[in-house]
């Protein structure tokens, strides 16, 4: 059992936080220091106030930045563990001809974990346990054969990478207080986008036809159950400009811009794979 579950370590952005007080208390799970203090007061508004992240940690990163980085780290744990399993000797799901692609992705995800842990120091969350079948620990979810059936593996890989891109993008504004970290987050975000592009194209055998282009066309997906990963990608209004009014095709217009996801939206996508 981890000291800090993913959810208890999160910054409670009002309206976005998934409060799971009842489950936390019922299980007797140990939670983060501040969360426990808030919960003990048995008053949700007070608990949330106690978790206000306007306070700078003494001599360290601002709390808001720590929360964002721990959120990112959790997603990187998810991805790195996923690829570490898939490419481990016990499974043979990746055909040799595609191994270079997934080994490249794997090495980056492990590097991201190491980098974020180093940035966070003793404030880094530990890795959760994962259920890549998508059943929060029951191991009988829709992706139960993800390490046996290549199509399932590549589908979930694509979903994780596209989600990662949108997750980093959604969090970037909260890192503006520490510019080197903002920059690093964007540097990682771009790499996830390269990953996503390669996996998407691979899934279409590199023919670059919708829905298997390196970029996301409308909110189209050929992976069942991933509507949430692509929700919003059909947007054609950017910075007050209607791209269609500039006389561009809808498909091109939606491909030209990736969309962010909020933390809550990312958690909704990732939670099935995280054992609470």
């Amino acid at each position: 059992m981890n000291d800090q579950s993913l959810l208890s370590s999160l910054d409670p952005e009002i309206g976005e936080r998934l409060v799971r007080r009842d489950q936390e208390i019922a299980r007797g799970a140990s939670v983060g220091r501040v969360t426990a203090a808030g919960l003990a007061m048995a008053s949700v508004p007070v608990a949330l106030a106690a978790l206000s992240t306007d306070v700078f940690a003494q001599g360290g990163l601002p709390n808001e930045v720590v929360d964002v980085l721990n959120f990112a780290l959790t997603l990187e744990y998810l991805e790195s563990t996923f690829y570490n399993y898939a490419l481990s000797p016990q499974y043979h799901v990746v055909p040799p001809q595609d191994a270079p692609i997934f080994q490249t992705i794997q090495s980056h995800e492990n590097e991201h974990v190491a980098y974020l842990k180093a940035a966070l120091g003793d404030r880094a969350v530990r890795t959760p346990e994962f259920d890549f079948s998508g059943a929060q620990g029951a191991h009988n979810g829709p992706f139960h054969d993800v390490f046996f059936v290549y199509d399932k593996f590549t589908a979930l890989s694509q979903a994780f990478e596209d989600t990662g891109v949108r997750a980093y993008k959604g969090q970037a504004p909260f890192l503006r207080g520490v510019k080197p970290i903002l920059t690093a987050a964007l540097q990682i975000h771009a790499v996830e986008a390269r990953h996503a592009s390669a996996v998407r194209r691979l899934r279409g055998n590199f023919q670059d036809l919708v829905p298997n282009r390196g970029w996301i066309t409308d909110n189209t997906t050929d992976v069942p159950g991933t509507a949430a990963v692509y929700a919003g990608e059909q947007n054609v209004f950017q910075g007050g400009v209607d791209i269609l009014a500039l006389h561009f095709r809808t498909g091109d217009a939606t491909e030209a811009f990736d969309e962010p996801l909020t933390r809550a939206e990312v958690l909704a996508i990732a939670s099935p794979f995280i054992i609470p």
Binding site: S197, F206, G214, L246
Partner: protein, 259 residues
């Protein structure tokens, strides 16, 4: 569409273009349109107000006169979000112009149909990016830049794809390096929306160039040991892009450590 009043334009001698042409102040002011109808043409991202920080300065207006030059010099003020966005607009203009040349050269080029299809898709995105910035920046937009593609052989897939790879990788590095200069959260998000697509482009172009089933899509020539893509400062980026742009581009308000 608002009239395309150019951004700050400085002549080669460092003086605003309009200043040299006016015989006297009144004639000068009439020449640049001050005193008549409202000069301030709000872009969609920045309206006009009495606030000195958002109202267009005289030097913005002088661009209308300076635009007579076919390759006006351009200044990018990184002390302002609009300067950063114009920097992005400059790079998108370059990419759009490049892929437009690529597309029109298809009949004479040796890319196969599939490669041309991918390049057409990338062309569409870059043209959209450029058009978006032009529309959004409105009166604050820099003028159309003049590209120089004399080093590119548009008939040769290797030359085309190599240049494309250079531009896409550079675009990613440029956005990554410029983001820290943006004060606005919504502009930062906009930059993020675009840079992700440039990175997807880079991966695809590298696949076409070096092999789809190789690590080249995210090669160690651009990804460091922490799994991070490059982030380059604007001065470095403009130095690398310089050979492809005829206009002189001057950066102001970039700290030396972030250049």
């Amino acid at each position: 569409m608002p009239p395309d009043v150019a951004g700050q334009v400085i002549g080669r001698d460092g003086l605003p273009e309009g200043a040299r042409r006016a015989a006297n102040r009144r004639e000068f002011l009439r020449a640049v349109g001050i005193g008549g109808a409202a000069l301030c043409v709000p872009g969609l991202l920045a309206g006009c107000s009495d606030n000195p920080s958002t109202a267009p300065s005289l030097s913005h207006v002088l661009g209308a006169v300076g635009a007579r030059s076919s390759t006006p010099a351009v200044m990018l003020d990184f002390g302002s979000d609009l300067g950063v966005l114009n920097y992005a607009y400059a790079l998108e203009q370059l990419e759009a112009a490049f892929y437009t040349r690529v597309k029109t050269s298809f009949p004479d080029a040796d890319m196969d149909g599939h490669e041309q299809n991918v390049l057409r898709q990338v062309w569409a995105h870059e043209v959209i990016h450029a058009a978006f910035f032009k529309a959004a920046l409105g009166a604050h937009a820099i003028p159309a830049l003049t590209p120089n593609f004399s080093a590119v052989n548009f008939r040769d897939r290797t030359s085309v794809l190599t240049t494309a790879r250079t531009f896409e990788d550079l675009g990613v590095a440029a956005y990554n390096g410029a983001a820290q200069f943006l004060a606005s959260a919504s502009y930062l998000t906009l930059a993020g929306k675009i840079v992700a697509v440039e990175a997807r482009h880079a991966a695809a172009i590298r696949g076409l160039l070096f092999g789809d089933r190789t690590p080249a899509f995210a090669g160690s020539d651009v990804i460091d040991s922490h799994g991070r893509d490059r982030a380059l400062g604007p001065a470095t980026v403009l130095e690398m892009a310089g050979p492809f742009i005829v206009n002189t581009i001057t950066l102001v308000n970039v700290p030396a450590t972030m250049a």
